[in-house]
């Protein structure tokens, strides 16, 4: 079983997000980057499938500038076999059609059985890359996957639907599957894994980037018209005011 995992490097949920003066993007120097949350679950699923099969290969792929080598190394430290970096400038990389084409070109000769990706990136939130890629490579596709079972060249996946519903879908491999968070418990890299990762190969590709079909004009902090009553003070004062609010304004105690 040959499995590709798409891993995006995104700002951590605790990172500050200073906007550049021209509002074109955030100031990347000031960001702490992490592995995209759902991609972490996708990687874990791939590693578990390889371990259950006793053989196979897991390849982590990230598209972005040199900083993304860090998440590739993290994937390798957790147990992926090798990595591919598709070296592009991050600021222009907003169009999922362009990104998926670049990834498709990079992997089409590899004949992966499965491509796992996250259901959505925590920065751009396009929610499309894995499905577009699957379509481009003629693979079967499924999104929002919460469980996988592989047998006889087919994959059966449990898809999340709206409002607490699920559905099992079965399809032939090769397949491109987008993973929803929570389907497994992602591992942490071991010390041995971290040491071993240094010797693993990262193949760096520098492709020609196609014309974007959608682009970002500006980013900004949203304005809210909601009047929020802010309660402040020391922790004890806040607690006192909250209890008063519960009693006198909201009337729940």
């Amino acid at each position: 079983m040959k499995i590709a995992v798409l891993i995006k490097q995104v700002p951590g949920s605790d990172s500050s997000l200073p906007i550049q003066n021209d509002a074109s993007w955030i100031n990347e120097e000031a960001i702490t980057y992490v592995m995209n949350e759902s991609d972490n679950y996708a990687l874990e699923e791939a590693l578990q499938i390889r371990e259950q099969n006793g053989n196979g290969e897991v390849v982590v792929i990230s598209l972005g500038p040199d900083r993304v080598q860090k998440v590739i190394r993290e994937g390798l430290a957790k147990g992926a076999d090798r990595g591919i970096q598709i070296n592009v400038d991050s600021v222009g990389a907003v169009d999922p059609l362009v990104n998926a084409s670049l990834i498709a070109d990079a992997i089409k000769e590899e004949k992966f059985d499965i491509v796992f990706s996250g259901l959505q990136s925590d920065d751009l939130g396009m929610g499309q890359t894995g499905i577009i890629l699957g379509e481009m490579l003629g693979m079967s596709t499924a999104s929002l996957v919460m469980e996988t079972e592989i047998s006889d060249g087919r994959i059966k996946v449990k898809r999340e639907l709206e409002a607490g519903y699920f559905q099992w879908v079965t399809m032939d491999l090769p397949s491109s599957i987008t993973i929803q968070s929570g389907l497994n418990t992602p591992r942490y890299p071991s010390l041995k894994g971290i040491m071993g990762a240094k010797k693993k190969e990262i193949n760096v590709l520098t492709p020609e980037v196609g014309q974007s079909k959608q682009s970002m004009e500006k980013v900004y902090i949203p304005q809210s018209d909601k009047q929020t009553v802010m309660i402040d003070g020391s922790a004890d004062q806040i607690v006192e005011k909250l209890v008063e609010t519960f009693r006198n304004d909201i009337k729940v105690i």
Partner: protein
Amino acid sequence: MDILIVIEDNNSKIHRMGLESIAAAQSISKDKGFSIGVLVMGGNAEGLSTEVSKYDVSEVLKLNNDIISSYSSDGYAEAVKQVIEQENPKYVFFGHTYQVRDYVPKISAKLMKPFLVDNVSINKDGEKFIFTKQMFNAKLYSDMVAKDNGPLLISFQSAAFSADNAQSGSASIRDISVDIDSSMIKTESDEPFQEEAGGMDLTAAEVIVSIGRGIGKEENIPMAQDLAKAIGGELASSRPVVDSGWLSAPHQIGSSGQSVSPKMYLALGISGAIQHVVGMKGSKNIVAINKDPEAPIFEIADYGVVGDVVEIIPKLSEALKEN
């Protein structure tokens, strides 16, 4: 046709977000004089087309065919792609539902046309439109533009437009067909099912104490349980708390979990991502405690505290018990 709206079937009714798409299309059509076509498809197309024809749109396109009588991503993607090719609209509107996430990116790939997703508003800039979407889990917004002549695929976030604003009227219904065969469908789908809710129904609760990733670690869960008890409410959570196994799935509030509208919703260490907010924004009073003054939850909170939940929760429980 200028705008084609694709309506989703929600148990043989129009999905609410379909009506929101109609409201969106009507809002930009007024001064542009755009014509609006609405596509209904699948096993319930007959009934749905009658429903949709009661809205102020130019016409309803009705499509049924054995292969798309129930949903499959391949079937729907191919069918809608062919309708787009036949009708050649400038814009194709969708609600940003889970189903749309599943199949519309395929249409984007087939046609090599951009899919501008999950928009919260549309604004005019001369002749072109600017589509605004949330980024970084709602912490920032961004204005997106298409660099393509279309057809452009556009989806709208839940509640970006109000279904109540969809104007009624009377539209003609036209049968259409597509050329599609079973060899195009790569998936076999079982029936949708619901998992045991574990006897937990949060919809009746008057007070909900809801915790997010800001609770920090599993060891802090009892402190939240204690607060829920002290205030006489139910405990709930955002998705990461369930994903981490700290609380069971029925506790989850949001688009994949329960939708609630209690008298008071206490959001503790929850950032306010849209998939959470859709499940609780109907609450009468939202009280948010978050250490980040810019957390998006404050945009919908009635009362806000910038502070550390791990410090405040036990003190609050104590104070409530003393009362």
